[in-house]
Amino acid sequence: MNEKKELLLQVKHLEVTFGNRSHKFRAVDDVSFDIYKGETFGLVGESGSGKTTIGRAIIRINPISGGEILYKGERISGKISRKKDKALTRQIQMIFQDPMASLNERAKVDYIVSEGLYSGEHRPSEGDRKKAVEESLSDVGLLPEFSSRFPHEFSGGQRQRIGIARALIMEPEFIIADEPISALDVSIRAQVLNLLSRLQKERGLTYLFIAHDLSVMRFITDRIAVIHKGRLVELCDTERLFAAPLHPYTQALLSAIPLPDPISEKKKKLLVYDPSIHKYEDNPPTWTEIEPGHFILANEPELEKYRRQLEKLG
């Protein structure tokens, strides 16, 4: 990886818990990763693994109970000044999973897209606002006249574009995309993915891309972190992760990707991850960099084994 890359977001020993003291549930446990400017960072895991919670903690929806989050070197978790909070709202935006549920059914597209502008420090004039809405709609490939329509008049793919336009109008630097294409048809998935990568190229955006499907990840991300039950188990460059997946959970995820090839698909062996293969009782795992840029959660004997595997691979 390029060493000169600028750090944008640092997550350090993040912990998020839900419930009260007697019924505590640790959704995110000791998660650390960095995101560099201009890259697409993927976070992949099954439902309930805490991947969405991490996204929501970064954007300050879920309070965190341990660790800290730094944005451009400044702490953004916990108590921060009101001014900083407003600035962050502008800089970090989110795209949600279900385009059917994430748009206000009773508001017109015009309002949905520009609602964020009303909350800013400098409220734009009506003319500027209209112009901004128009621009942002055309950026995502929608017609300006759509702004007077209601969400129910659009198809799933168009609604997701409205969700993206809503994020873009704030001119963010960092976008958290929480399963933006899981609810869409295959053909429309491609359109939305292309749109996201085009916008990244044009505006130098940084993405945190959350998904459960590694096949999509391979296409769009630069680096991937795999999360299981609230803990990161592996983090690596996308290409390297597909070439040398070390953790058994990563391998299980990879083996589950359906192949559009009947012969090899019917021969394929499905791996199921069984956490009990780890012997962590008296030898707890640590988050270790096993090769440059490749992190893994493992204890000493496992690290030995993984190192041998890497050697074999060359």
Binding site: D185, V186, S187, A190, N194, A244, K269, L271
Partner: protein, 362 residues
């Protein structure tokens, strides 16, 4: 596959229309299909292509504003297309043809225990004494891979995870020994890992319960593993049908090409992923010619004028496209899907073996 197979369900020139806001929507436009006993057929298409509507007619589950306006559905010597009352359907639904719906979160009754919901199905169709019913239900739960079925029997749906709930839905569907099992997007709402497990389970059950299965999905990647035959549907019509290998390795219709090339598994990083331009045709209006022509960059003139007939590629493979006409110019399928056969698995198989072996050594 044996070519002389017994036909279990035969659809001829089926037409389905919906009355909507004073207009008529022509959802299914003359579809014919033979379903063979013991096969698994996948129906693939975008949302709005009519794939769900098509199979719903087999069970009389169309919304109240929809009706079959022509054609026949032959099953067991009866024409299902003429059924109008629920009473007539009662025998077919569940007992003969059962369905697994997309979203396991909404297709179970949250107020009843899982066991009770399975017993309901058993009571309606199998007429068992109560005590036997419980044992049978537990047996079915075990069949669908739910651990500790005795305990799970008396639990409520909210105590199950998404994948487990889908297993329960499948248990209810197979409880009455149906002949045909229809799975309408059975894994779309699930994670990739769970999806693979559920597909595996459905395959197992098909053998065990001697089922004929129909899968409905928008994702061609999913069906490569489970389908014997694939029917590609577009705008209320089957545009291509063939065995799984034929459709993947030798697709003929431009729409099938488009569906295949938009799979992210085939995408190359840094390049634009293929996407289908435009939107499906509005079925309130009469569709002229090939319905896919307006979105097909290589459409011929005739595609806009006349609806193509089926051209046979092989005895099991036919497609509705003018490209197969001897007079048509030769158009090659897009580059990316030509070498699907040599697609490398995403996970290096040699590598997996060492990893698994290493783990078990310790």
């Amino acid at each position: 596959m044996d070519t002389k197979q017994e036909v279990i369900l035969s659809v001829r020139d089926l037409e389905v229309k919906f009355n909507l806001r004073g207009k008529v929507l022509h959802a299914i436009r003359g579809v014919s299909l033979d379903l063979y006993k013991g096969e698994s057929l996948a129906i693939v298409g975008e949302s709005g292509s009519g794939k769900s509507v098509f199979v719903k007619t087999f069970m009389g589950l169309l919304d109240s504003n929809g009706y079959v306006s022509g054609g026949s559905i032959e099953y067991d010597g009866k024409n299902l297309a003429q059924y109008t009352q629920d009473k007539q359907w009662r025998n077919i639904r569940g007992g003969q043809i059962a369905m697994v719906l997309q979203d396991p979160m909404t297709s179970l009754n949250p107020l009843k225990t899982v066991g009770k919901q399975i017993c309901e199905a058993l009571k309606l169709h199998r007429n068992m004494p109560k005590k036997q019913m419980k044992d049978a239900a537990i047996e079915i739960l075990r069949d669908v891979g739910i651990p500790e079925p005795e305990k799970r029997f008396s639990q409520y749906p909210h105590e199950f995870s998404g994948g487990m709930r889908q297993r329960v839905v499948i248990a209810i569907a197979v409880a009455c020994n149906p002949k045909i099992l229809i799975c309408d997007e059975p894994t779309t709402a699930l994670d990739v890992t769970i999806q693979a497990q559920i597909l595996h389970l459905l395959k197992e059950l098909k053998e065990k319960y001697d089922l004929t299965t129909i899968y409905i999905t928008h994702d061609l990647g999913v069906v490569a593993n489970v389908a014997d035959r694939i029917a590609v549907m577009y705008a209320g019509d089957i545009v291509e049908i063939g065995t799984c290998e034929e459709v993947f390795y030798n697709p003929q219709h431009p729409y099938t090409w488009a569906l295949l090339s938009s799979l992210p598994q085939l995408g190359v990083k840094g390049q634009e992923l293929f996407s289908i331009k435009g939107t499906p045709p509005n079925l309130f209006y009469h569709v002229e010619g090939d319905a896919f022509a307006p979105r097909n960059p290589q459409a011929l003139n005739i595609d806009f004028k006349e609806r193509p007939p089926y051209f046979e590629v092989s005895p099991t493979h036919k497609a509705r496209t003018w490209l197969l006409d001897p007079r048509a110019p030769k158009v090659e399928p897009p580059e990316s899907i030509r070498n699907i056969r040599n697609l490398k698995p995403l996970l290096n198989p040699d590598f997996v073996k060492t990893a698994a072996g290493g783990a078990s050594d310790e």
